[in-house]
Structure formats: structure tokens, C-alpha cells
Assembly symmetry: D2
Homo-oligomer: 352 residues x 4
């Protein structure tokens, strides 16, 4: 029963096979090869646009490199207080941006909304060079509490962002899950709703290590190749990354993988909601579940071999709190989650 | 009527005269001179200890250099949400620390207290290297809302800090005002209550440009001379800084200057409290006043030539808020504030 | 005919197969898995020691992360003037070290020798904090001119380094080729001859993307996990890297791959030396050849489809220079170089 | 007998008096005051142009802040091998530029000339993002070996620089001495000969701490105010710096101070040249003398109380070398050097 993270499984067979296919023969190094070109093309087709695309091997690299193109070192980046980029990526954004500041602007809400953003920006000092000016917002899609930003959410954020000259970055570590869950086009979920740069993560949903930074605004990408190189993220054998993306995107493979993960999560969440001892902290909108459960249930599940993590209590919504006998846990399903695992988890969690 | 800031006036006559005295003759460069040695000694006598002392010309430099000795680039610095170091010093701390993160941990309280700190630390993730670990607290004495940390406040903060292995930095831009206001010894207000490093600011209280970084813990100072040099803060003619400090500290000159500033503030605050149209957002504990006044009063004062600044509304205490006809303003007195200025301000502010 | 670089081919079949094997099942993320543990163990067995080992996906990352553990931001790193780390890795070392300085200390010699180093160090200013103090030497094995450092070379460098408190880093992008060429043990070529940290590169010799940073001195590794994480080089699916290393090291697979590359280079170099129109700038000691050839020969080879690069003229030894009709070219063989390619190259290069 | 450095004396009486004058009354902080405006205007009049001017308190800050506006972190800065900025300012340029690389491009020549530069640039790799591209040249006027760049020298450097899109920075720590020595206008010695940014140093020639960064090209100054603030170099009491510059520039005070320093150096150099035991390594063109003298003479001078420093042997010209009984020393005169000191030095240095 593996619900610890969607990065605890490997790559899909199709992705793996394409790494092997791409392994043959000679190519130029450092991404100057046909595999890479083809993968770039596929991404542009998928997003119905002409974006500038760059591959890297880790999500932290994708996020931080993207952000470093959006802000100057004396500016700030705004994020949700649970953002992976501010909680789980050390001080990578500070490192890559040369010391810009990361600020979290929410507290108990599940998503950044336009009002949060507006309120923060209205109060933020504008006395440069003394005050550090906000220059970018970053949000995750699916976000860190399992919620999906709808095009309307994004458009409203864009409106406020434009008034204050902020760029918007989307951390798409689980972007596939969002597309599958909403059945909204990749284009509509990104640039058509105001996203300037996307970290398109394939690792969590079927690849081994493959992330793309997708610049819908070419101007923002100007320095990217320098930043990627000097941070050691330009791989010499570029086909490793490209071959994964090709297999992942072709024939909607990525969406099929995501659909499986999402459907298992939906099923699991539905069952847990019916469990009288358990309540969900947030609605399950894709492949993550945040559940409040008794400690004894948590223990029983762990004993049965279930893998999952306790979550920070600051991940609770405003109206929720934990009593001494409860814990907040996060459950994540993957393309590789077995129906049997879900069944077993539901069963073990049932009240005794 | 100059109440904009205590940096809007010059140096005291005594300080100025000593710059001239120190100007004569030849010395070695870069602080390797007798003036500097004597100033170091005076600081140690003042603080009744054997601290390592370094001079720089600006408060931002003093604070950021001090902080860079307390945290590694993958750690975080905690401060009050109104801290000068997080609001008014651009991203200097990020720059000097090589990209550590600054986090504000309060919201509406006037001072950081041990409970704030404890609550934040209890919730902070400790899963390194993913989570960035808190490694230092910085607080200002007098703080940015005009409040003074008492030895008990500091000792309780120290206790929590030690449990979590945090160092404590004090931004003493108005340290003289705190000593004068409390009549507590410099030692008791710093190292005897757990402060590891102090930025001792003389600029705001009678000097032209003179700040000392005082390391009560020698080990923390290990890299300071490198950091100061490579950030351009080692002045070649070191006596400029040392001569100011000597004049400032000798014969309690600094405390006399601060006492004057404080007494004018006390008088002004007292009068404003009696003004039925005005209320103080925070008690006036040293030389800063935060007053909520009608906009028409603000206008009348400005028209009469009074200099002062509106303050961020997030500088209000929890129980306060502004209505549409009100503003929050900050008034600061200095060693050079004239009694007549105070009188005139009180008179013009009186209800019509 | 692919002689452009040993990164222009893919992975060996054995390595590729092991990626697939490791793909199965669930593991913990971020290198906390059995594959990674086993790969660490194998490296320690290979080097007959108890080193601390960290995996990353690129050579630039391995080198810069290693160097960032050896120097403080106000110190300098010394290298050969042709070092990959100073010529071909952008300003990655400056980025990772927080702004330490890279200095090249040779000019026309093929390797850094102890005398070069001694001379440079004797002249280097020691007036800290004004002068930036040398704190590390980095050298490549096989080096960028195709030469191999013998244990004696290294020991002499160590002696000088110790006198001046310098650490030594070895960029082992082609370390396999050096071991194969010299038939000297990995231990003897590294820690037994004074190397403190090794970047062990597997990518150029049979893997897709797999580099290890091997700290023979544990103390130097103290911050590595923080530095790797915040630079985005901690991969979530750690088995991708570990599985490559396991296949690569088991059964001396790495040495067999290197032996093939070296033998093809030796054969090619031997033939070129006999070509009256061509001379070698440097002896071919592993899998790189630096040849001075007529431009018309270069053109003929290119027309026949040979891939290779012109080299910087500052890659010439002191006694050599190019006339207007000559060029310096670099030829690199790989584990995948076909005997037929070598034959064809020799034939096309033959004088007409 | 103080010949150690021109920073070992204080400020001129006129400069000191103006600090006192400017001390009176209230002004806005952070350089938003009339003193600063007037000083900016004076600099523009002096240079017959409309430059953007910024004041800081140290030469290292001026140089590094200026350079940080000329290069991106993945580019390089070229300088003479004896440049103060590469020898005596720690790794400040790396710090301020976010990790650009400093490279010295000469060896034994006294000045960078256009041929040096051209040769280096012709050999420099241009394969971005792998190679770090040169983007700026920095040179000192008077330079670190006491030599003066003539307008022709500068124009030729400019020509080469423009071909390769390099900016030129001039470290004018001793710019006053150069103007006085050449009797060439400040404009002609800077922007009219291709200088983009000047660090105009007043500290070494009559001020206590006053440096101006003068951008002849406004576009390059775009980020300066942010960079100055976040590095702690924006002083709150801006009149301290401005008042020094005003007194220094008015009535050609700066040139009178420099003329005195230069004339004493000329006299001293002339006498030393006639001393049969001493020879000059470089012609004395302003206020620095590089003399090769017997160790016994050096000792005798030291015993008589003369202050001066031994210099690096890499400060010798190509045709010179030291034998075991000789040393290279640097002698610097200042605005405050007494004729008697020079006389005494000459006398004590005379062969016995």
C-alpha cells in the first residue's frame, strides 16, 4: 500500500521503452539532437502554441530556474504557504534568483485567490529601493493540498497580477492530474488563463526524471540557457530527457496515466468520507487526499504496511483543527497504484 | 517640525569635533590604527565584556553582515513582520547570506514573544535537506513599533532559541534609546539576556555614519573580516568610524543624546494622548510614536511644515483598525529635536 | 565516424538493462532506497575505502558541488588553463561556491605540476582579507589534453598543497579511461595519492547520466546534502542514478568499456603519427587525441562525415604553433567507437 | 616618512570643514537632499556631460557595484594582472556580480593594451552557454603600477571592446592624480575616450570616505540604486558623502591636492633614479613609485621610520628581475606628503 508520494514508483513501460529506443546511435550532445527537437515540438502541439521549452531532470531545478527568469534579486516571489517551492525545496529559489525573497501570502485558505493577492499587494510597500517589490506569483497545479485551479481562478489572479506587473509561474509537478481531472485543455489551464511559465512535471506521473520549463512568453526565457548551464542542469546526453517526454505525450499516454491515478484517489477518498472516524480536510480533486483520522487508525494502517505521511497541521483549513487523538495525513496515488492497494487501505481503515 | 526619522539630522557637535581631531596625522589603513583600537575598547567597557567588534558605515550593512555569520544559505532567519531588516532593507539579508530565507513570524503583536517563536518552531518542518531550518532570530531594540524588549522578554526568547539551536541578533539602530528608556545596563539588555550579536547603531542618535557589529560570541565572528571586505564595507580610513564612536560613548554622551530624544517623544506622546481626536496605536516607550489621527489633522500638520510619514496599516495592533477618515502616522524624535518643534506640533494637532 | 565527444553515444546495454530492472516496484524517494545504498557500497569497494558518496546527473553539477565544499566564497580555486571546469562549465563554480574565484595557473604545459603550483602559491598575496587565498586545486583525470596524472604527479601536488592548506579535487569525467590506461588501482589514483574529493563520471563512459561525488575526507562532505538539494540536484527517483552505477561498476564493466575506448584511440593515434602530414600535439595516453593537421585534411574528413572539433590554439604545448594552413583538432573515442570508424578515419586522413 | 599609501592620511582642511557645514539642519535621508543634488551637478560640470552619479563610502564598493552593472553572472571581467580589483578587493566582484568571473589578461606589461585585449578575445571561446563570454574590461587610472592611460590608449581599447561588445570600467581611485599629471580634461580621459563607467575616488586624495560611481551611459545604471541598497551602501545621512565631494571639486581643490602629491612623487623618483643603487621598475607618471633597491637600503629606511610596502615580484616588467639582495618596493605620495619627508627619504636612501 504505497500512498507516500507519486515519486515512489518508477516509470511506465512505454516511457522506459523509449529511453532504450533513443539510446541507439550517435547524436550531438547537450540537447542539440533530433529527440530533443521532437519533444519540444510535441509540447508545443500539446499546448497549442509556440513556447520555448527547456528540459531538466528535477522539479526543484525546473521551478527555481523558471522563477529566476521572472524576478530580479531585489524583488519577491509570492506563493501559497503550503507551496512545495517554499516548504520542500530548501532555499533553492533564493539560490537560483541570486537572493530574491520568497513570501507566503496565505494562511488557511486552500488556494491563493485573487483577493489574497490583491490584499497583500495593496499593503506591500512600494518605496524602492528600500522595499523589495513583488514581481512574481507561483502556484502549483494540482496544488499542494490537492486542489485544482480553475481557469477562472487563474484569470482573476492574472488580472491582479497585471495591475501590479507580476508574472505568474505554475508549478505543474502534477499538471497531468489537473488536465485529466478537469478535462480542460492544457492551453486553457495555462497561457490562455494568464500563466507565463510552466514547470511541466513528468517525473511524478510516469517518467523517471523529466521536467520541462515551458515559457509561453519568449522574452522571459532570454537567459534560461545560461542559467541552466551554470547550475549544472544541462545534461550532455539530452535524449534521456527528450525520449521520456516523447513517450509520455504521444497518444495521450500522460493523460491515461493521470486518469488512473485520479480515479484511484477518487475511489479512496469516497470510501474514507464514508468512514465515520475519518473526515477529509480538503476535497479530493485529483490524486491527493488530506484526511483527518484517529491516531489508532493511523497506527493500524502503518502496521499493515501502508506508506503515507503525516502532514503539517498548518495544512488545515480555517474551520478545522486537530484534537489530541487525531492526525492529518496525506495520501497520494500514482499511475501505478493498484486497485488492490486501495481496497486494502479502505478495509484496514474501517472502524473496528 | 522634523519627525520623519532620527536620521534626518546630522551629528552632535562633540562627535563632529572628534572626526576633526582624528583627522590629523598618519595611521595605517583599514582599521589597523589606534583610534579603532580605542573605540573597540570603549565598546567592551560599555558592555562589560570581551566582545569582538567591527565597524561599518551603514545599518543595513551591520545587520546583514551580522546575520550572514549566523545562518547558512539553506537556513532561515525569523523576524517580526514589521522588522526593518525585512521591510526596509531590500533583500540585503538574502544577498549577504548567499540566499538564506527571511520569514516574518508575527502578525499583529508589537513584539516577537517566546510563544510566537515556540509556535512557529513547533510547526516548522525539520525534514532536512528539504525543509529550510530556522537558525536565527533577529529583533530590533527599540523595535520598529517603538517598543522595548525587557530582559525578561529576551531571556524567554533565548530559552526557546536554545532549544532549537537558534542564534539571536539584535538590531540596535536605536539601542541608545532603549538603554536610556529602561535605565538597564547595555550588558543586561544584550549578552546577559541571551543576545549573541548586536548591531550597535550610532548613526540615528548623534553620529553621521557609524555602526558597530558586536559579537558577544567570538566563534560567530570567525568569517566577519572576510565578509566585510568582500562586500566593500571595510573603509580605508578607519578613523572616520572610530572617532565617531569614541566621542559618542565617552562620558555617556550617547545616553544623554538618547535621553533628550526620548524625553521629547514622551512629552509629545503625552500631549497627543490627551488630544480627543488622536489615539496611540502603541505605547511610546522610547523615541517613536505611532498615532492614529484624522486625515484632516494630518493635512493641517503637513501644511504647517511638519515632516512625518504615514505608516503601513499592518503596523496596527490586533484590536485596532482604521476607518476611512483616519491614518496611522509615525513620529520620531532625535537628539536634535527642539522643544519648540514639539510644542508647535501639539498645538497644530489640537482639535479645531 | 563519431569522434566529437564521448558523450555523443548512449549507454551500454548492460547499464540500460539495469535502469529497467530498477524501475520495478516502490521505493522511498530522494535516494533513500536500496539501489542507492548498494551503489554507494560498490563505489566504496571499488575504491577500497569508506568514502561518502553522492549521486547527481551531470558532470558540471558534480564538479561545482564538490568545489563548493572545498572553498569559502572569499577564496580561490586553481586549475589548469584548459580545465573543463574553467573553460566549458560557464561560471558554474562561481555560482555554487557563492562567488569564489577560479584562476588558471598554467599556460602551455599539459598538466599542472607541483612546480607550477609552488611558484603560483609563492607569489600569491597572503594579506587577508584583501587578497583572496587559494584553497583548492582541481585537476582532471584523464585531463583535458588527454594526459594522465601518475601517482607521483599527484603526490608531489599533494605535498605542495598541504604546505599551503589546499584541498585537491579530481574531475574524473574520464576516470575510467585513466584507470584502464594505467592499470593502477582507483585507490592509488585518488586518495592514496592525496585526492580529497573525486567527481566520478560514468556518463562519458557508458551511462546516460550518472555522476558520483566521492568524498574521501568525510568532514568536507558536511554540507553536501544541503548544497545538492538547494541546487536542484537531488533527484526524487534516486534509483535512476544508482542503477546505472551498479551495472557500470559490477564485474569491471566500466573498465571494459574504457579499455575499448582507449584501445581504439591508441590505434588511431598510432596511425595518425605515421601520417606525414599530421603530428600529435600531445601523446595519446587514454581516449583523446590532439592532432595538428592540414586544413585540407580536416575538410576532407568533414566531407566524409567525420565528427570532431577544432580545438583552441591555447591547447598547444610550448614548443608548438600552428601555421596558416594547419588546425588543431580533438578526437575522442568512446566505449561505442567502431573499429570501422577508426579505419575509415585513418584512410580518409591519408595524404593524397 | 609616510609612503605606505595615500590612504594613510586624513582629509584636507577644506573637505573637513565642509562636512561640518553640511552637518547643520535637517534633510531627507538616503541622498534625497540638496547637498547630494549639488554634488551630482558638480560632477557633471567637471565631466562636461550628463552622467548618472551615485555616492558610496568605499572604493571596493564603487568598483564592484559598477562592474555588477556591466556583466551578467555568466560572463567575465578582464583586468590587468596587478589590478586592485583582482588582487586587493577579496572576491568582491564575484560577490556583487552574482558570480561572474574575473580574469587577468596581462603578465608583465604595465598597462593593458589593445593588442593584449585583442589577442585574448580572439582566443576566448564563444560557444555559449558553455564558455563564459567576456563582457567588460576594467582598468585603473592611474593604474596599479603608477602608469597613466593616455586618451589614445583608451580609444584603441575602446575599438577592440566595441567589436566584442565589451563595456569599459575605469577604477579612478587615483583619477585626480591622472588628470593633474596629464593636464587632460576629465571628459577626455573618460567618456570621450570610450569609458562607460568611472569609479571616481576622492578618498585617496583628500577626503575621508567618498567615492562616486559615474555612469556616462545611463542605461547601464538602471539597477544601480537596487544594488547599492541591498549591499548596504546607501547611507542614510547622504550629506556626509556629498559634502566631501562638493569641497573636493569646487575651485579645482581636487587637482591642487593631486598636483602636490604628484610633484612630491616626481621629485622623489628623480632623486632615486640618480641613486646608483636603485632603479625604477616603471616610470613615475603620477604619485606612485616602484623602486628596486638593495635590501640593506630598505632596512635602513625602515629603521629611520619610513613607511612603505614591498611589492609582489609579479609587479616587475618583462625585462626586470630581482636578485637575492634586492627588493621591489612601492612608494606613494599624498596631498599631505611633506617636502621634508621626501628629503629625508632621499637622504637616508643614499648609498653609504
Amino acid at each position: 500500500m504505497f500512498f507516500g508520494s507519486d515519486n515512489q514508483t518508477g516509470a511506465s513501460d512505454k516511457v522506459l521503452a523509449n529511453i532504450a529506443t533513443a539510446n541507439n546511435g550517435h547524436t550531438h550532445g547537450y540537447g542539440d539532437d533530433d529527440w530533443t527537437k521532437r519533444a519540444h515540438r510535441l509540447i508545443n502541439e500539446t499546448f497549442e502554441c509556440d513556447a520555448r521549452v527547456f528540459f531538466v531532470a528535477s522539479g526543484t531545478a525546473a521551478n527555481s530556474l523558471a522563477l529566476s527568469c521572472l524576478v530580479r534579486p531585489w524583488e519577491t516571489i509570492l506563493s501559497h504557504h503550503e507551496a512545495h517551492v517554499i516548504i520542500d525545496e530548501s532555499t533553492a529559489p533564493e539560490f537560483f534568483t541570486g537572493g530574491a525573497r520568497q513570501i507566503s501570502i496565505t494562511n488557511t485558505a486552500g488556494k491563493i485567490d485573487a483577493k489574497h493577492l490583491q490584499r497583500f499587494l495593496n499593503q506591500a510597500g512600494t518605496d524602492v529601493p528600500h522595499n523589495a517589490k513583488p514581481a512574481a506569483v507561483t502556484l502549483a497545479q494540482v496544488n499542494e493540498l490537492g486542489l485544482v485551479y480553475q481557469p477562472d481562478d487563474l484569470s482573476r489572479l492574472k488580472e491582479v497580477s497585471q495591475q501590479h506587473k507580476l508574472s505568474i509561474h505554475m508549478d505543474g509537478a502534477r499538471f497531468a492530474n489537473a488536465v485529466s481531472a478537469t478535462q480542460i485543455s492544457p492551453a486553457k489551464l495555462t497561457w490562455q488563463s494568464g500563466i507565463d511559465v510552466l514547470s511541466l512535471g513528468a517525473t511524478k506521473c510516469g517518467c523517471l526524471a523529466a521536467e520541462a520549463v515551458v515559457f509561453f512568453d519568449h522574452a522571459l526565457a532570454e537567459d534560461f540557457e545560461h542559467r541552466r548551464k551554470r547550475s549544472g542542469h544541462l545534461l550532455s546526453k539530452g535524449r534521456l530527457l527528450a525520449s521520456q517526454f516523447i513517450a509520455w505525450l504521444e497518444d495521450d499516454h500522460w493523460l491515461k496515466l493521470a486518469a488512473h491515478a485520479n480515479s484511484q484517489a477518487t475511489r479512496l477518498a469516497g470510501a474514507l468520507e464514508k468512514n465515520p472516524e475519518i473526515r477529509l480536510a480538503w476535497p479530493c480533486e485529483a490524486n491527493e487526499i488530506f484526511a483527518i483520522m484517529p491516531k489508532h487508525t493511523e497506527q493500524r494502517l502503518k502496521k499493515s504496511g501502508a506508506e503515507f505521511y503525516r502532514w503539517y497541521s498548518h495544512g488545515l483549513p480555517a474551520h478545522e483543527s486537530l484534537n489530541d487523538t487525531e492526525v492529518l495525513v496525506r495520501l497520494v496515488t500514482s499511475f501505478n497504484t493498484q486497485a488492490e492497494e486501495v481496497n486494502e487501505f479502505i478495509e484496514v481503515a474501517a472502524p473496528r
